[in-house]
């Protein structure tokens, strides 16, 4: 029993959080296993940050229970905080201290702490030790906030949208950093609204929409659940009839997009179905503006599960 409990870095049961008339988190439950990178994926306003803030002890839930590293966050907030590291979504750091001084200051709040120079080296900022935060680039700033979340050598690190607003190169650097933290046995929980990030980085993924969890699984399994391997996007000059769609799609399924005369077809059994569809297109008098064939991604999973597109 004890072992079973200790396998979970985070256990969330029936969590509810309301802000006035708005229910930000609507009865969610999930568990994060020790040593994994766990992602929470969802659009802005899905309730990701609120969920994290409850786990971090920043907000009190209206209902439900949260256990972090085997401890109830409401009963033992200080003990939990001493053993986790947190990067907040939009937190800044002191203007008039150097990076090294900020890390030393935050380290002084914990019973155990890492050397600021070592931390800066871990995130590739060792040559900026005496700089101020406002002298860093966006990517460097994000890496520094990750370093600040590691000052107490935590067992669990919680990163809230660590790559939002970063350019692709800086984003990839941050992924590397998260992997290296994970490689040292640290459990990582992160939120993102980027599909490719979730797919690339996370061992398991919770998909969140409007305060609810719609799925929790490994990214690959979520994709394979769709039983489709390719998605075809068609944009045509005039609306297709149901009969036309049925011919094109074989035994797949059709999703209408919000744009005018635009259709998503999910094909099983490709490439055979793809060939059949292209034949059908050539035979018919459908006037085609655009045709795009892509492998099924998390994007399609999200669309399937929530009926919404993730892009905001």
């Amino acid at each position: 029993m004890l072992n079973a409990v200790m396998e979970e870095a985070v256990q969330v049961d029936g969590l509810v959080k309301r802000f006035g008339p708005v229910t930000a988190v609507d009865g969610i439950s999930f568990a994060v296993k020790r040593g994994e990178i766990f992602g929470i994926l969802g659009p802005n306003g899905a309730g990701k940050t609120t969920t994290l803030e409850i786990i971090e002890g920043l907000q009190k839930p209206d209902q439900g229970k949260v256990t972090v590293l085997g401890m109830d966050i409401l009963a033992k907030p200080a003990q939990v905080k001493a053993r986790i590291g947190v990067q907040l979504q939009s937190s800044a750091y002191h203007d008039y201290l150097s990076l090294k001084e900020i890390l030393a200051l935050f380290g002084s709040f914990y019973p155990q702490r890492l050397d600021p120079n070592d931390l800066l080296e871990q995130v590739g900022l060792e040559d900026r030790a005496d700089s101020r935060v406002n002298q860093l680039s966006g990517g460097q700033k994000q890496r520094f906030t990750v370093a600040a979340s590691l000052v107490n050598s935590p067992e669990l690190v919680i990163l809230d949208e660590p790559t939002t607003g970063l350019d692709p190169q800086a984003r990839r650097n941050l992924w590397e950093l998260v992997r290296s933290i994970h490689g040292r046995g640290v459990t990582v929980v992160l939120t993102t609204h980027y599909m490719e990030e979730a797919a690339e980085l996370c061992d398991r993924l919770a998909i969140m929409d409007r305060g609810r969890l719609v799925a929790v699984d490994a990214p690959g399994k979520l994709v394979s659940q769709l039983q489709a391997t390719y998605t075809v996007k068609l944009v045509v000059a005039s609306p297709l009839t149901d009969a036309q769609l049925a011919l094109l799609n074989g035994d797949g399924e059709v999703v209408h997009l919000t744009e005018k005369n635009s259709y998503l077809l999910r094909l099983r059994n490709t490439p055979k179905a793809l060939g059949a569809m292209l034949d059908e297109l050539a035979r018919s008098d459908i006037s085609l503006d655009h045709l795009e064939v892509t492998p099924v991604t998390l994007e399609d999973v999200f669309l399937e599960l929530t009926g919404n597109e993730l892009r905001d």
Binding site: G57, H94, L97, F109
Partner: protein, 358 residues
């Protein structure tokens, strides 16, 4: 906690602009008040004890009453009473005309006594000269005695105090008040806006340690402010501080505590650092005038002089002046310290109630 305090002091010192203005603003006023000649002569009160009671002595009294810088008090006081009044500073000048004043020609007259305190040397010089010439005039033709024997000046030595000494303590109060309120209000509201407070909340740091670190750092800054204002006041502009310097620091820091609490309260109400700064000024500037940092508030109309007594800056300035000017000890100012203590508790309770992290 020490680490937090040291980090805070570093940040305050490195915020060059804020540090500069914290010191420069009161110093600027020290210079302004030091350069303006506020040591004007003004008029003094006079009482005449006329033991001779002759036509000559009455004429002398009348002529002294007519001197522009002297205001004749009506009394009546005995000589002993009048002397005590001079000793205690209630009466500026006492003239005693002795019985033998109306001696006939040739006889040696008894000398007139002029008694005053040593402060206000310029006016003393004027009054001394006026009294001597009036006495000489009154006795003209009656005696050949040299002028110097006609009037004996008795000077009560008191510490040298002038208006600038009074104002210097006002400037200490002003500097500590303005910086404590505004610096805390702006800093905390900046921290809240940038979510630095939130970031601290996800560490195991107990909240009281955070407040302690802020308060300790600001008290250190206030102590430096007080030291610099006193040094410039004394060594550049020749102010005199008579009391125990340690008490001055202690009173200033107790006052600073009240103003830091007010700063925390304002930071809870302000939505932005700029608003916090504006609110801080809106509280500090009127309080500076109403608490009598520079001018007496006795001339304020209606209930305002009493309202001024209720402001926290008033007991702080009273206590500072009692110590610095009248060489008071800490136990002499216990009522003022008590009021400041109550203000500290009261503002701390409100700050604790309204303070917000997010």
């Amino acid at each position: 906690m020490l680490a937090l305090t040291i980090a805070n002091v570093k940040m305050l010192a490195r915020n060059r602009q804020a540090a500069f203005w914290a010191l420069f603003f009161p110093l600027l006023l020290v210079v302004v008040f030091g350069l303006i000649d506020v040591r004007g002569v003004g008029s003094g009160s006079l009482y005449v004890v006329d033991q001779a009671d002759t036509a000559e002595s009455q004429r002398l009294t009348e002529s002294l009453a007519a001197v522009e810088i002297l205001e004749l008090e009506s009394g009546p006081y005995s000589e002993a009473e009048a002397r005590r009044r001079v000793d205690e500073g209630d009466l500026d000048y006492l003239v005693v005309i002795p019985r033998g004043f109306a001696q006939a020609e040739g006889e040696s007259p008894a000398a007139v006594t002029l008694m005053y305190q040593s402060k206000n040397a310029e006016r003393n010089q004027l009054v001394d000269g006026v009294v001597r010439s009036q006495v000489a005039e009154a006795r003209e033709g009656l005696t050949q005695a040299p002028l110097s024997q006609l009037v004996i000046s008795e000077v009560v030595q008191v510490p040298d105090v002038d208006y600038f000494d009074h104002v210097l303590m006002g400037l200490i109060g002003l500097g500590v008040m303005a910086n404590s309120i505004i610096s805390i209000a702006v800093r905390v509201s900046t921290y809240r806006n940038q979510a630095i407070l939130k970031r601290l909340l996800v560490t195991p740091l107990p909240i009281w340690k955070y407040f302690f670190g802020e308060v300790a750092a600001h008290l250190a800054v206030a102590a430096v402010q007080v030291a610099i204002i006193m040094l410039v006041g004394v060594f550049v502009f020749g102010a005199n501080i008579h009391g125990n310097i340690a008490w001055i620091f202690l009173i200033a820091l107790l006052g600073s505590l009240v103003f830091l609490n007010i700063g925390f309260i304002l930071s809870a109400w302000a939505n932005s650092p700029a608003a916090a700064s504006g609110m801080g000024n809106a509280i500090a500037l009127p309080m500076m005038f109403f608490a009598g940092a520079f001018f007496s508030t006795a001339s304020l109309p209606w209930v305002l002089p009493y309202a001024a007594q209720a402001l926290p800056l008033t007991p702080m300035l009273d206590a500072l002046r009692e110590v610095a000017i009248d060489s008071g000890q800490l136990w002499d100012v216990w009522p003022q310290l008590g009021i400041l203590g109550l203000w500290t508790l009261f503002t701390a309770a409100i700050a604790g109630r309204v303070f917000k992290f997010g």
